[in-house]
Symmetry: C2
Subunit: 338 residues, 2 copies
């Protein structure tokens, strides 16, 4: 019966004429110093010869480090996330970690089952981008010993590391921009308020609008996508006539809002100015080019990964809550009111 699987350390050791423990040390950077130069060579040569690749599962089982991390995003097809994933993946790969990625489709059950899968895979850390403000999944995670960093959204609980955009600054910039263009009657199509972005952006919007003396109205969208933006804006147009401008909870909501406006005979930006949030890729090439709040997505992903890595290196570490600065990008979807 021929051995069907790939060569094991034992095979390498035999080929090199050493004990498997010696082969193990020879092949590990950390321990290679323990073994004689000449032996080192023999083992390495044998390993190359046989095309040996360490069995990560066996190693992980023994060392209790899988060298993998799990990343959950609400929806990978939301253009905001791919750059975040890329930023995270780049930083992780540099440190030798692989990435388990999963889209939860904004579905709590799916999120839980994916989280279970990652727990079973014994990932060394988690990057979570889909949490709700009060999230039972997080509570269960806190009990466990697995390092977690939240990104994009965070939880109300202060005890967990996170990397999020500066929601308050973003909304202030957006509202101020509209005010300076001359708008005085401004709507907010906010994302779901069970998310931190929803709630924070709403609060900042209210505060800015009040301070500037604007008339305003708020409608909560059921999700962060175009369809929800469309529905919410239809409602907004019914409930808040005379509105000349609108801030959306993110860029996809903004697209839905523009559509709803069009359906109601309001052209953007002539009859209705719209500001998005995120500055997702291609936002500047849309028709009209979207005025929006830029979030440095790659950086956000990279930072989240770096915080996680340092948390893995030192689990006792205090939680770190990073707020990434944002800027307003003024493009074609906003204009002075007529």
């Amino acid at each position: 019966m021929p051995r069907p699987s790939s060569p094991r350390l034992k095979d390498v050791a035999e080929a090199a004429g050493v004990h498997v423990s010696t082969a193990s040390r020879a092949l590990n950077e950390q321990t290679a110093a323990m073994v004689q130069e000449e032996t080192l060579d023999r083992v390495r040569r044998a390993a190359n010869q046989l095309g040996y690749r360490v069995n990560g599962m066996a190693r992980a089982l023994k060392t209790r480090r899988s060298m993998s991390i799990g990343m959950l995003v609400p929806d990978i097809t939301n253009p905001f996330f791919p750059p975040v994933v890329r930023g995270a993946e780049g930083a992780l790969a540099k440190a030798g970690f692989s990435l388990f990625l999963s889209s939860t489709d904004n579905d709590t059950d799916k999120a839980r089952s994916q989280l279970d899968a990652m727990t079973e895979a014994r990932v060394d850390g988690l990057l979570l981008g889909m949490v709700q403000r009060r999230d039972p999944a997080i509570d269960r995670l806190r009990a466990g010993a697995i390092p977690v960093v939240l990104f994009n959204r965070t939880v109300d609980d202060e005890g967990i590391s996170s990397v999020v955009p500066d929601d308050a600054l973003g909304l202030r910039l957006a509202v101020t921009h509209l005010f300076e263009l001359g708008h005085r009657r401004v709507g907010l199509v906010v994302g779901p308020l069970f998310t931190s972005n929803g709630e924070r952006r709403l609060r900042a919007f209210r505060r800015s609008a009040r301070r500037l003396g604007l008339e305003f109205h708020v409608v909560e969208a059921t999700a962060f996508d175009e369809a929800a933006g469309l529905r919410a804006t239809e409602q907004m147009i019914r409930e808040f006539p005379g509105m000349t401008a609108l801030v959306a909870g993110n860029d996809l909501l903004a697209l839905g809002a523009i559509d709803a406006g069009l359906n109601a005979g309001l052209r953007c930006p002539r009859d209705l100015s719209v500001v998005g949030f995120n500055d997702m890729p291609l936002a500047g090439r849309l028709s009209p080019p979207l005025t929006t709040v830029n979030v440095p997505e790659l950086t956000l992903g990279r930072l989240a990964a770096e915080v996680l890595l340092s948390l893995i290196a030192n689990p006792q570490q205090q939680p770190e809550r990073i707020v990434v600065p944002v800027t307003l990008v003024s493009r074609g979807s906003t204009a002075p009111p007529r």
Copy 2:
């Protein structure tokens, strides 16, 4: 010294007062029938009580199945890929598999190192979207026993399963569309010819253009992104004056082409019609809305995953080469020549 880690099967077994092998059988669907109803209950209760999660590494080590698959894409920030990833992930999750995702940034070295990492993680299969027509990485993989399905691009070698769009049909549709609009002098900004999409689209373009009696010129872009599209089109404009329309190797190249045209004073579609390929998300909302060849991305990803799953279930299986049909979506970036 308290046990810091999560509960093991042994802990569950002790809590339930049974042997660990019995606990193992009780907790596995396949083998649960072997154990008495009453014992089953006790074990399950104990497992829930302790919050037991199987250690995937230990299981994988013993069973030689990691229940994970690796997916390599050239660039996750290319909007074409997220829906493909999502399609694949959905199908895989349904079958209980997790997804290792990695962006290779079109870098052969990075691809190789990621492939090594996946090999070490002992993934049960690979979904590769970044292969070149003659790819040494594939040759190395063929030797091994790990099931592979290529998507989006394929290799010249016939022996490997793949799921790719119908490049030939797509280009024929694009060229015919331009012909019917009245264009007679048409360029092709093709993707790198070391990719199957590049080469196949070029061939189909030439054939269609000849058959229709068009004058044509081809420039090869160095990558599938906007910057490469811009550069290639600048060259095209120099070398092929009087061109009224252009087919791009994908949507990002098309965007670069539109920019290059603008820089040269050619407005799209008034002075230069442009057809893309892929119909990436938001393509229809761009300015101008992109005429392009629609590839059903979600389906493509799902199919790739399904082929891989069946290959994993039955490794002796003949390779399957699926060609996914495409359609032309006529929008605003094409118009009759002036």
